[in-house]
């Protein structure tokens, strides 16, 4: 190209000098010089717009000449136009062309065998003044003629051409080209095609270590028939191998391949010399879409890397490409700071690689895979980028962990040197919560894997594209740009529904796939192996891995012992031997049985794909069979107390698993059980060799009096108080005992007047066999406010306003109580705290039922940004919303406050529910398995972590009662709440056979204790089972018939406020109708023929309709027949060709549907 430039400049200079005599005023520098060539005697036809012209001798040619006879050779005619100057060189005869062949034309070639014919360079002898050729070589075609006909013409015959003659005889090879004067020139070579016994080979001149050749790469050929060959390989060391099944090139060096064929009684032989070197195939298997592997410096595009670093450059040849690494990677050994793979991406083919997937596959479990995807969105061209980029994600199973802004994950976008374009669609769809900046092109990648925590780490240059709210990323993440290791995907993240369990042993295969874009991949290292080893040779001991060897257990004499699993995907011809004391002993299948104690050696031997023998061995010691033992500690337990399940004592072969049951119910060590009956504890122990069971009967001390009944925590000062009935049952005599009530040692009447002042009374229920004590908190109350529904501790005050009943308690005794039991079916508690009075950091609700079952719900961290819910003092990590609001009016106008709501649901599943709560209570505060409250609950409210001596908060709502002025009215106007653990007090769909248990239904009221409830149950057929009955007296109702059952519940509180609730229980008809088609629907008919659609009937427990519907080929829908219960046959006429669907659809009264569908092809 450079020479052309110089030549052009020189010519322009010469021309300028020449033209200066013709037309010195012309602006020659702006005109293009066009060289043309002609022979003496030819004519030149000037183009339109000729400005001036001259002959080689300098004579002027008329501007209006319509043709010019070229009558002077060896010089140039010059024709000047507006934008160019034609320099027409005229020759008396064409200068000779120089013909150069790349080789000799063969005289004889074999019929049917591809033959090579030399290329021809035809170079004109027209030369510049410096002697160099003025013209480019001509384009040459090679034409092959046979018996006077051109069989094939091959362009581009400047280079050697390949041609396969298909007939024997005399052929003609004709090289053709057209010279600069427009004359077609040709050179002919005859050659003979003969039927010859030959061996045709497809061997390459060069192979890579590890590649395999096959005899099928060669064949004998004669008269159109193929003949098999025998292949022999002579290695560099001179050894010769017959390679009937192929041959793997194991070493570098020169090989000789000898192919021999028997053809028509004659032995034909051909030898080929090949060279074997280390290369791409030595590292990788299953390479697809990559052209070649060459050693190379790190590409200039990978800016962050040193130019001296070496790698393996893979040229990508298709839209997708991939390879498998020829070895096993031990992730544990690599750790999280050594790359599993390190590679770069280059830009060629007019685009760039935009998505690369690296898949790690557990060698022990091919289904256990992890794919790490590096991508720039899903586009393959740089111009089409839009939106936020998908940067890095990890996928296992169906779970994707990503840094994609379209995935609702906490991890955010860390650009992986990706390109971010401001694209026209971006403005509408980028997240307004993020800030963005440009990133660079997809470049270099490294990722490492932390097998301890299942976290993908990455190292490399990065650029932070966006972060939530435009803020600063969490600690550990890069803030702007730089290089670092940092986590990019936590496969056990809290937001993931599925967690990645990790690889079995950390040993994995690695696959890399380019899934979008085009370009080069530059491999720097895989599995810690530097790819620059390409130049030094490479053999991978990791081709063979052993795993799962006895789980670390010794072998047992006379018992089969599993051999380790050998992963031989990358090796062949595995042989396993078991030996002891230098002698090889037999083994069968995947196990061997030691016949004596002592050390055994198990050896694995195989050949890797470079032909190298790899051997790995493990040892194991055989022992006598160990005994399985199991015992459980016996102990005395006392009726009514808690018993903690103990850990059994076991020993056996390997891990011993135990199943513990108490009276047939599964338990686990540490469980606490209330002793209510005899306890038989069974432990079943299992080791790898067998199972053993033991049973332990605990001795129960029945010297225990059980007191049962509801005793309130608090009562009002100066109020009349009736001591509740408490039942005392003596487990020793199995009789009820009489109780007498004492307070502070003084015997009491059934009803007393409580003290005027707050106090804590020690109430004793005394029997002959012992007492039970209760603390009765005698509390003040202000009857003029809503606080009459609260019992306040000593020193506390309460005032009701529009924010709620504002309670101020002392830190020394902060517990506020509700005086009566509440329904746990739906128990909302809402309290309000002024921002400037938030002198405490937690609020606890304590729910206790009559049997002592108790749970606490606490909102802790009220003074922080994010309070959390605690259940029984255990942090659930469930965040409670805390949102500052401002009172618009009232006594607190302008003041900032927070509202907190907890709502407890005690359905059949003991579900907690508040603003963001969804969890299950496992145990109560005593650690006893929680099975729901047995009855209504007492509620205590207690601020926690009080600072400054007092805490003030407003109770806004408890249960069905509001505590703020505008909603609270004096007196009890709110009906009781309903509670039962046995069903949801609402409408429900039930199934036939379900049972409704009414006996547990209770009514609770905040202000009056003696609420009652009655029920009226009506069956689907109108039968009234009970009317206004005490639910405790009503038997269970079983749903049987389809229809609606009605339960009317009437709840009445102590001041006769009533609430009627009606629940409808619907038993649905889920039986679908049956369709009977009266005949066969044809599968094909001819276009124009009629089609008879058979009649059909529908049967159902209720009535059903039936119709026949036609779906035409254009998907038009037509109902062709419709009826109640049955339809007649219908004849369809002249259906155009196409696919038709005939659908019978039966529908019963509920809407249950049955269909039968037929396909009819109407043939055109």
């Amino acid at each position: 190209m450079k020479q052309k430039w110089i030549r052009t400049l020189l010519l322009m200079l010469c021309l300028a000098m020449a033209l200066s005599t013709v037309s010195p005023a012309l602006a020659q520098k702006d005109k293009t010089i066009v060289y043309e060539y002609a022979l003496l005697g030819q004519e030149y036809v000037p183009e339109q717009g000729l400005i001036s012209a001259s002959t080689p001798t300098g004579e002027t040619i008329e501007k209006d000449a319509d043709r010019v006879l070229l009558d002077w050779a060896q010089g140039s005619y010059l024709f000047e136009y507006e934008d160019k100057i034609v320099n027409l060189k005229v020759y008396e005869s064409a200068p000779a062309d120089t013909l150069t062949y790349t080789a000799q034309v063969p005289q004889t070639v074999a019929n049917g065998v591809a033959a090579q014919f030399p290329g021809l360079t035809a170079q004109s002898d027209i030369r510049r003044t410096d002697g160099a050729p003025e013209l480019e070589p001509y384009d040459v075609r090679a034409a092959f003629w046979f018996e006077g006909k051109k069989v094939q013409s091959i362009p581009g015959a400047n280079a050697p051409v390949s041609f396969t003659p298909r007939q024997s005889g005399l052929w003609l090879l004709c090289y053709e080209y057209t010279d600069v004067f427009g004359v077609t020139r040709s050179v002919n070579y005859p050659f003979t095609v003969v039927d010859e016994k030959v061996i045709v080979t497809a061997f390459q001149e060069q192979y890579f270590v590890g590649q395999k050749i096959s005899p099928s790469d060669a064949y004998g050929f004669y008269c159109g028939k193929n003949y098999p060959v025998q292949l022999a390989v002579t290695a560099p060391d001179g050894s010769v191998t017959e390679a009937a099944d192929g041959y793997t090139m194991a070493k570098e060096g020169s090989y000789t391949l000898t192919a021999t064929a028997q053809i028509e009684g004659q032995t034909v032989e051909k030898t080929c010399a090949v060279t074997v070197v280390y290369g791409l195939q030595s590292f990788l298997t299953g390479v697809e879409g990559f052209d070649s592997g060459t050693e190379g410096l790190r590409h200039e595009n990978t800016q962050t890397l040193s130019s001296s670093d070496k790698g393996l450059v893979l040229d990508m040849t298709s839209a997708t490409a991939g390879f498998r690494y020829n070895g096993i990677i031990d992730l544990n050994e690599l750790g999280k700071n050594t790359p599993v793979i390190s590679f770069g991406a280059n830009h060629t083919y007019g685009g760039s690689i935009s998505a690369v997937e690296v898949t790690l596959t557990d060698i022990h479990d091919p289904d256990n895979k992890l794919t790490v995807l590096f991508s720039r969105n899903s586009d393959v061209t740089a111009e089409s980028m839009g939106y936020d980029n998908t940067m890095v994600s990890a996928t296992f199973g169906n779970t994707k962990v990503g840094a994609n802004n379209y995935q609702p994950l906490t991890a955010d976008a860390v650009a992986w040197n990706t390109t971010f374009h401001s694209y026209w669609r971006s403005a509408s769809y980028v997240s307004d919560k993020k800030t963005y900046g440009p990133a660079e092109s997809l470049q270099a990648f490294n990722f490492a894997y932390d097998t301890q925590n299942q976290v993908v780490y990455s190292y490399g240059s990065y650029h932070l594209v966006g972060w939530e709210n435009g803020g600063t990323p969490p600690e550990g993440y890069p803030t702007t740009t730089g290089e670092a290791w940092y986590p990019i995907a936590n496969l056990q993240g809290s937001k993931l529904t599925n967690k990645f369990a990790g690889f079995t042993t950390g040993e994995v295969y690695l696959d890399l796939a380019v899934t979008a874009g085009r370009g080069d991949v530059i491999l720097y290292s895989i599995g810690g192996v530097d790819m620059s080893k390409l130049a030094q040779g490479y053999e991978d001991d990791n081709s063979l891995a052993l795993a799962g060897f006895g789980q670390g257990l010794p072998a047992v004499k006379d018992m089969p012992y599993d051999l380790p699993a050998a992963f031989e995907q990358l090796v062949a011809d595995m042989e396993i031997t078991v030996s002891k004391d230098g002698k090889t002993v037999s083994h069968e299948g995947t196990a061997f049985t030691p016949t004596e104690i002592g050390e055994y050696t198990i050896s694995f031997e195989a050949i890797n794909q470079y032909g190298t023998t790899i051997q790995k061995a493990v040892t194991v010691t055989a022992i006598e069979k160990p005994e399985l033992t199991v015992s459980y500690p016996a102990s005395n337990v006392k009726m009514g107390e808690l018993y903690t399940v103990q850990e059994p004592t076991v020993s056996g072969y390997g891990t011993v698993n135990c199943v513990i049951t108490v009276n047939g119910k599964n338990v686990k060590p540490g469980d606490k059980l209330k002793v209510r009956e005899e306890m038989k504890i069974s432990v079943t122990a299992t080791d790898l060799l067998g199972t053993k069971q033991t049973e332990t009967q605990l001795t129960v001390d029945r010297d225990y009096v059980e007191f049962t009944g509801d005793f309130p925590r608090s009562a009002l000062c100066a109020a009349e108080f009736t001591f509740p009935e408490i039942t005392a049952y003596d487990h020793l005599s199995q009789k009820e005992l009489d109780c007498t009530v004492y307070v502070d040692g003084q015997k009491q009447e059934k009803t007393i007047l409580l003290p005027q002042e707050p106090a804590v009374l020690k109430v004793e229920y005394r029997t002959q066999r012992g007492s039970r004590y209760y603390d009765l908190h005698v509390c003040p109350a202000e009857v003029s406010t809503g606080s009459d529904a609260l019992l306040l501790p000593k020193g506390a005050t309460a005032v009701t306003n529009d924010a709620g009943t504002v309670v101020t308690v002392l830190a020394s005794d902060p517990v506020v109580s509700l005086p009566y039991k509440l329904s746990a079916t739906s128990l909302p508690v809402q309290f309000v705290v002024l921002e400037d009075q938030l002198s405490f950091n937690g609020m606890q609700l304590r729910l206790t039922d009559g049997s002592g079952t108790c749970i606490t719900l606490s909102v802790m961290g009220l003074q922080s940004t994010t309070p959390y819910l605690y259940v029984n003092d255990e942090n659930t990590l469930i965040a409670i919303q805390k949102q500052a609001q401002t009172f618009a009016s009232g006594v607190y106008e302008g003041k900032t406050y927070y509202t907190f709501t907890l709502e407890y649901h005690d359905f059949y599943r003991a579900l907690l529910n508040a603003s963001k709560i969804e969890t299950y209570v496992q145990t109560d505060v005593n650690g006893v398995a929680f099975e729901g409250f047995r009855d209504g609950v007492y509620l205590d409210i207690c601020p926690l972590e009080i600072q400054g001596g007092t805490a003030s908060f407003a109770i806004a709502q408890v249960s069905n009662q509001y505590f703020y002025q505008s909603a609270f009215e004096y007196g009890d106007i709110v009906a009781p709440a309903l509670n039962t653990r046995d069903f949801i007090v609402n409408h429900a769909y039930v199934s036939s056979g379900d049972t409704l248990k009414l006996s547990g239904l209770r009514a609770y009221d905040v202000l009056t204790p003696d609420a009652t409830v009655t029920v009226t149950m009506t069956l689907a057929d109108g039968t009234v089972v009970c009317q206004d009955a005490d639910p405790g007296t009503v038997r269970d109702v079983t749903f049987t018939d389809v229809g609606v059952y009605t339960l009317k519940i009437l709840a009445t509180d102590g001041v006769n406020v009533k609430k009627e609730t009606v629940c409808r229980f619907t038993v649905e008809d889920r039986e679908t109708p049956e369709i009977t088609v009266n005949g066969e629907v044809p599968t094909t008919v001819k276009a124009g023929d009629s089609l008879v659609i058979p009649g059909a009937k529908a049967e159902d427990v209720t009535s059903a309709t039936i119709k026949a519907v036609l779906l035409r080929p254009d998907y038009g829908i037509e109902t062709i027949s419709k009826g109640d219960g049955a339809i007649d046959a219908v004849e369809l006429q002249k259906l155009p060709a196409g696919t038709y669907k005939i659908r019978y659809v039966a529908t019963d009264q509920r809407g249950n549907i049955t269909t039968k569908s037929y396909t009819v092809i109407v043939e055109g």
Partner: protein, 680 residues
């Protein structure tokens, strides 16, 4: 482009003529017997394999070589590569290339414009085939595939792969490739010309421009796609601005001072006569400065125009003209189409007295047309002056308030343009986007009279112009997971579009969301109908299910689709084709039935002898199908069930499941949210 229209018109005339002839040949409907039912279909389903003689096998494809011209374009090479690649996948054999040359009766596949083709006597007339059509014909043992353009050649090769060899391009991540070592080349004489010059089904794959090769496989071209010239190229559409772009063309930012439009330019932007109307809430570009342009500014009563106002400032027209000239001049890609669209975020933008008066006289669309005509005249003049050789057309967006053709109806029911200035120029294409039409029925169905468009919508526009594009909608844009099936209407709707000469059809579905089965299936079925609206839909659905879900699950999926659609259409018919029925037809029993069908399919697949990997693939696809009926059930949960807490649990589970399949959006611009249970 109008050549295509003429061609289509010619084809239509032939079809009509044939139908008349057939009637005239005594094939009148037979007298209807008792228990006979009339069928509305009167056109046979078009064969997708017309011209292929499956009884005449030329030989195994593995015996063939591929011929490319030595001057082959990159696209022709790409076509050949596709052929070689897929034949290798099917047969395990890499087809060799053979040298181009004189025709001979040899087993070769000639791809594109080769010397072999030229000497064979087989013609591929670009005038007839246009850009995307192709011929595929055997002469002796040789098979010749050539398109009207390179893109047509690619489509021809893909057609060969599909219909000779059985490859099914199903979804972006699922291509069915038969395992057939002896795949056969058949004798054929096949000419295929698509109904529409440009086509796209706008699902998430298209919207996010996922895998251009997949788009090529579906023979889509669109402004949403980026298909390189090497892969056949895209429609020549300037992609610089989004669809609703008038403010961008006017380069609004030039007229903003201190965050507001400089008062001296008020006349050019939507205003109420004195001040600018803005729409700061909307997301549209420049809405904070002005809701839209004033489309009367610069347009004189007689339709003439002024690029500058009396005070020398540019009019809205002047701004738009300048902006468009600048783009066209510097457009290195030499595009043909430049879209000019009103703002989508503020319906009825300008309230100046001139616009209000103009709207009364010309209608809103008429104002827009007069403006675009003036723009088109300026651009035509500019193109001529600049010596730009390519055809340049302005695409006018007829959408929302500009949807309605400015026509009057005479007493005979014929439509005529309301004013001569409202007839569109030849270098303008109108892009109809009837977003509020009834999607369940044809454009001419009487039920369209219940919409603002009416049954004569297409007829009315045909009085204004003969150059059309169509942007229509197949799903319900407000509830993406609602099964809003419109498949039965598309044969008729696309046939109408074909008849009026629509150049480009864009069918929008749930364009941001992947795991919605209605879109997954529609892409395949409607993608084919965009090529030929007469294809057999039953056949397409069965085919898709067979290869996408396997033989075990396919019947269940087909039954599910038919169950939902026939129930939906029965409800529509029973309720006067009210479009709202599409959101109301599903009963609890129907949804239980639908979910039950798919559950049974999962169980059958699970119980089959398929590999674990194959089972997982099929089951995941079935679960994706199930998302729609599950969504519908949950949407009406409290009508069907009584336990609100349980509903919340199930909604959460649904969202989790959907997200695990890639779900993000429950409707346009609204993401699922597990914590706040966003579930519109």
């Amino acid at each position: 482009m109008r050549k295509i229209n003429r061609l289509l018109a010619l084809v239509l005339c032939c079809v009509l003529l044939l139908s008349v002839c057939m009637t005239g040949c005594g094939q009148e409907p037979a007298e209807q017997a008792e228990n006979t039912a009339p069928i509305n279909a009167n056109v046979s389903a078009a064969s997708r394999t017309q011209g292929i003689d499956f009884d005449a096998a030329l030989g195994s494809v593995t015996e063939y070589s591929v011929i490319l011209s030595s001057l082959a374009t990159q696209s022709e090479k790409y076509a050949a590569q596709q052929l070689v690649t897929y034949v290798k996948k099917i047969t395990g054999v890499s087809l060799p290339y053979a040298s181009d040359g004189e025709y001979s009766d040899s087993k070769v596949i000639s791809v594109g414009r080769t010397a072999f083709l030229e000497s064979s006597g087989v013609t591929a007339d670009t005038e007839v085939l246009s850009t995307d059509g192709f011929v595929m014909k055997n002469k002796g043992n040789a098979l010749l595939i050539c398109g009207g353009s390179d893109r047509g050649t690619i489509y021809g090769v893909l057609d060969f792969l599909e219909y000779h060899l059985g490859v099914k391009f199903l979804t972006a991540d699922c291509t069915y490739i038969p395992n057939a070592e002896q795949a056969v080349v058949y004798a054929c004489d096949r000419t295929e010309i698509p109904a529409f010059a440009y086509r796209v089904y706008l699902d998430a794959d298209s919207f996010y421009n996922r895998d251009p090769e997949f788009q090529v496989h579906h023979r889509f071209t669109s402004e949403y796609l980026n298909i390189s010239e090497d892969m056949g190229g895209n429609m020549k559409w300037w992609q610089g601005y989004e669809t609703h772009n008038a403010l961008a063309w006017a380069k609004t930012e030039q007229y903003v001072v201190d965050g507001v439009i400089d008062p001296m330019y008020t006349h050019a932007f939507s205003n109420d006569g004195t001040k600018i109307i803005v729409d700061p809430v909307s997301a549209g570009a420049y809405c904070q400065y002005a809701a839209d342009l004033c489309y009367s500014d610069g347009i004189n009563e007689d339709g003439s125009y002024s690029l500058t106002a009396h005070d020398g400032t540019p009019t809205a027209l002047g701004m738009a003209v300048a902006g468009m000239k600048e783009v066209i001049r510097s457009d290195e890609n030499e595009n043909n189409y430049y879209m000019f669209g009103q703002n989508d975020y503020f319906n009825r933008p300008c309230l100046c007295p001139k616009c209000i008066e103009g709207a009364k006289k010309y209608t809103d669309a008429g104002i827009m047309i007069r403006f675009i005509n003036a723009l088109a005249d300026n651009i035509a003049q500019f193109v001529a002056e600049e010596g730009i050789q390519r055809e340049v057309s302005i695409v006018m967006f007829a959408y929302q308030y500009s949807s309605y053709a400015p026509v009057n109806e005479n007493s005979e029911g014929e439509f005529a343009v309301i004013d001569p200035t409202c007839k569109l120029r030849d270098n303008v294409v109108v892009r109809l986007a009837p977003i509020n039409n009834n999607r369940f029925v044809s454009y001419e169905h009487p039920a369209q009279n219940d919409t603002t468009y009416g049954e004569s919508y297409m007829q009315q526009w045909s009085a204004i112009t003969d150059r059309f594009m169509l942007w229509d909608y197949t799903t319900w844009h407000g509830l993406w997971y609602w099964a809003y099936w419109t498949l039965p209407s598309w044969h008729d709707r696309l046939t109408t579009a074909d008849q009026i000469g629509v150049e480009y059809v864009l069918l929008q579905s749930t364009h941001q969301e992947y795991p919605i089965y209605q879109s997954v299936l529609e892409r395949y079925v409607l993608g084919k109908l965009l090529w030929n609206p007469n294809y057999d839909v039953n056949e397409l659905i069965a085919e898709f299910h067979k290869y996408y879900l396997g033989d075990i699950a396919a019947p269940y999926a087909t039954e599910y689709v038919e169950l939902m659609i026939t129930t939906e259409y029965e409800a529509l018919e029973a309720n006067g084709w009210s479009a709202s029925v599409g959101l109301e037809y599903a009963s609890k029993a129907l949804l239980e039935n639908a979910i039950g069908l798919l559950d049974q399919a999962v169980r059958d697949v699970e119980a089959s002898k398929l590999s674990r990997e194959q089972k997982d693939v099929y089951i995941q696809r079935l679960e994706v199908i199930k998302l729609q009926p599950r969504y519908m059930y949950l949407y009406h949960y409290m009508q069907y069930e009584t336990d609100e807490t349980q509903m919340k649990i199930e909604i959460r589970q649904f969202i989790r499941d959907a997200m695990s399949y890639g779900a993000v959006w429950c409707r346009e611009g609204c993401k699922f949210d597990l914590d706040n249970l966003i579930f519109y």
